[in-house]
Amino acid sequence: METNNQTLRWASKFPELGTEPIPVEPCIAPEFYEREKDRVFARTWLKVGRVEEISRVGDYKVKKIHFAKTSVILIHGKDGVIRGFHNTCSHRGNKVIVETGEETYGRNKAAVVTCRFHGWVYDGKGQLAQVPEEERFASSFDKSAEGLTPVHTDVWEGFIFINLAEKPDRSLKEYLGGMGQHLAGYPFAEMSQVFSYNTLLDCNWKIALDAFSEAYHVSTIHAGSFPNVFSSGLSDVELFGEHRTTGICLSLNSKPTPVAAIANSITGASLVSQRGSSMLPPGVNPNRHNDFSFELSVVFPNILIHVSEGIWFTHQFWPVAHNKTRWEGKYYVKPAKTNSERWATEFAQVLQRNAWLEDTATMEDTHAALESGAKQHMFLQDEEILLRHGYKVLEQYLEQ
């Protein structure tokens, strides 16, 4: 393959990814989605929470996992271990925890969960601890064998992951591989204030993920919220197996608006301010360029983790159908110590929300237009290399 080293720097670095157009079928075909569910989502590690969400013994979180038609209880056991179980009672299959939404939180000091239907009690290891009127079940009923159905669950840097496979082919640590090492040591827990958004998008999950996985869109989509703020080029693209990462840089010549200038002088809670690198792991912005803004890392298949000085944020895309995706955006900052910091943090967060509203604007239109069948391929430029890698990895999974 011939590439122009001046303009196709990432194609030169990663010739195995090619430069050809990408078929649109993976984004719109219902059959493709069915295969993806089986061969990707049902067998990879998926982030479902943070340890801070269930930090005390007995805290639990229930998360709906639509593509798998299940919901998973994550419970912080008496031994300090966080375990995951299908939210299905062994008795007659009722949901053990009655859900109040996509994510349901609760706490039981004894670290047990109790089914509302007939009062069956399960402990933090999923074992069936108590059955009311147990003597009325036949002698063939063996309580010790009828615990909750476990889900493989592990924690990396405070992120709780599950794997729905009967037997995962790799541990979480092996699965994350170089990506796990790349972001290891970042003080995620220090930024303990979180602003969370979610919505249900009428588009394929990859259309949503792709829209956040390049900076080519910034000068058009963010002409409102981030005018002339970011340079469009990527820095230090690295591939780690299924996963991928890049730095996103600021252009340093933009002048902040009046209120932004005041907010930036109080707190570093906005991406639109020059950022330091005191908390970045050594592999992130390795040359410590002073125009670095944040690291954009895609952990396959469905989460983006961004780290920056004093800020980190995630976008996650949960497939609900071939044309429906639940998006979750979470923005983490250090808790304010003063009232003026509280104000400046709000300004930064509002601006970020508006930028996400701009990002999200394109996705449903893209899906609707692709479903017309007018185009069979999409064209990716060199700075959209992360998307190209994503489709390559997906292809490998589906061929397995």
Partner: protein, 115 residues
């Protein structure tokens, strides 16, 4: 207009803004901004911006989350400015975010927390 003593003495000129903009939650501030006219946003922004440094200085006389009632009202006015400022400074006065997703569909899980 006679002072109703709603804000600290030195900020009494901002009292006419209290009824509309001193709102305790981000969701309410967002809704008020969306429902406002361009001239109303501009007027609120211009009035508040002048006083913003003094407001923040005043608020920092108190520990975080321990604001007396009048200062707490002043805080929510300042937070409304945080909500409004991008619309004046970046979006040409448009009460909505131009070329953006429907804000009503964007669920803010933190949006109903006071202050």
């Amino acid at each position: 207009m006679t002072s109703q003593n709603l804000l600290p003495e030195e900020f009494k000129t901002l009292e006419p803004l209290v009824a509309v903009w001193a709102l305790p939650t981000q969701n309410e501030r967002q809704q008020r901004r969306i429902a406002s006219t361009r001239p109303a946003l501009k007027s609120f922004y211009d009035t508040m911006l002048q006083q913003l440094p003094a407001i923040l200085k005043k608020l920092d006389e108190f520990p975080l989350d321990q604001l007396p009632q009048k200062e707490s009202r002043l805080m929510t006015l300042a937070l409304s400015l945080a909500e409004v400022a991008p619309h004046i400074e970046l979006y040409g006065g448009d009460p909505k975010v131009p070329y953006a997703f429907d804000e009503a569909r964007f669920v803010a899980e933190h949006g109903q927390h006071a202050n």
